[in-house]
Symmetry: C2
Subunit: 208 residues, 2 copies
């Protein structure tokens, strides 16, 4: 069997074991057994538990960013791109709950090197959304474009909302909402506000 | 000096050191010195580094939930309550960046017992928002109330958005937005959509 196929099997097994047991309790014996490989071969190919975990984080992170990018047609209007991007995000996180658990729970709860890798993926998603918001605002009918930091703040809020919704939905044991329902919840939540903003209509508190 | 005053000084020092150095690198020597106490006295009062950290997490969590609750007048309309609650949240997290870092970054990145305590606080905030959304929907002019799980999903999304915005804002070294600006960003983002939803107006994708 070619090395890359073997390695993929090992990573598949590792993602599953890390997600379900947690990083520290996960055993290399279980990972090797699930991958149908010997433990020395796992060490030969992936070096250490720490490097194996790192490789899982990187692979799952790249796959998630790719899923979001691939879902979006850059030539479609902003509303459509957001809808397609969110469906891509929720379809991927729903279809790969173990990969999402590794990124969202495990990698963030085991200290610096992993947490930094996760922060880097997050930044890629935030950049995609910031770009989308800034572009929509520029196309919008309002004279005053959003300040750069305002688009970043909104993008951070939207990504935070999506992460929280994916975590909550995946953790539901009864009636977990479908990926499309999740994306629709977030569009319901966020689109009206973003559309207002990018057209220069801002929310203001009622006079007391 | 009464024990509770001493303990408060130790917790103040510990929150600062944990937030700035991280849980593992933080030293009990530095905490004791900053608290103006001897190291044996810190151990006598708080037992161990782990228990000291736990006490910090609990104290900061309680203070945050209280700040949000205190900011909201339960008799005011939903829009006002959300605005007041968000201002309470962002005012507290901006005024206590070390406490927020302990909750949002440190406690989540150091394994199970702490991560579970943070999840419990988060759930309290989510419950406040779920209640607010469900109530608004019930008061709304729409015939069809939101399903319970829909209100929870939206509340999770809103809390996730607020957490992400607080983290991003506190990390900015230049022109960090004020607490009121942060709350306004989130109202701009979320209120239009929530208002639509609770009045039975739902977002739908444009026909292709």
């Amino acid at each position: 069997m070619p090395r890359e196929v073997r390695e993929r099997q090992m990573l598949d097994a590792a993602v599953q074991v890390f997600a379900r047991r947690g990083y520290r309790p996960a055993s290399m014996d279980e990972i090797a057994e699930l991958a149908g490989a010997s433990k020395p071969l796992v060490y030969l190919y992936l070096n250490s538990k720490e490097e194996l975990f790192s490789a899982c984080v990187r692979r799952e992170a790249d796959a998630l960013v790719r899923a979001v990018r691939d879902a979006v047609d850059p030539d479609s209007p902003a509303e459509r791109r957001l809808w397609d991007g969110l469906r891509g995000f929720f379809a991927h996180t729903a279809a790969h709950p173990d990969g999402w658990a590794v990124l969202h729970c495990q990698a963030r709860t085991h200290g610096e090197p992993f947490a930094l890798e996760v922060a880097a993926v997050r930044q890629k998603l935030v950049d995609i959304v910031t770009h989308l918001i800034a572009e929509t605002a520029a196309e919008g009918s309002c004279g005053a474009p959003l300040a750069g930091h305002e688009a970043s703040g909104l993008a951070n809020a939207l990504v935070g909302a999506a992460e929280a919704l994916a975590g909550w939905s995946n953790a539901r044991t009864d009636e977990a909402p479908s990926a499309t329902e999740r994306a629709r919840t977030l569009m319901n939540f966020a689109w009206a506000g973003l559309e207002n903003l990018t057209n220069g209509r801002r929310w203001a508190p009622a006079r007391p």
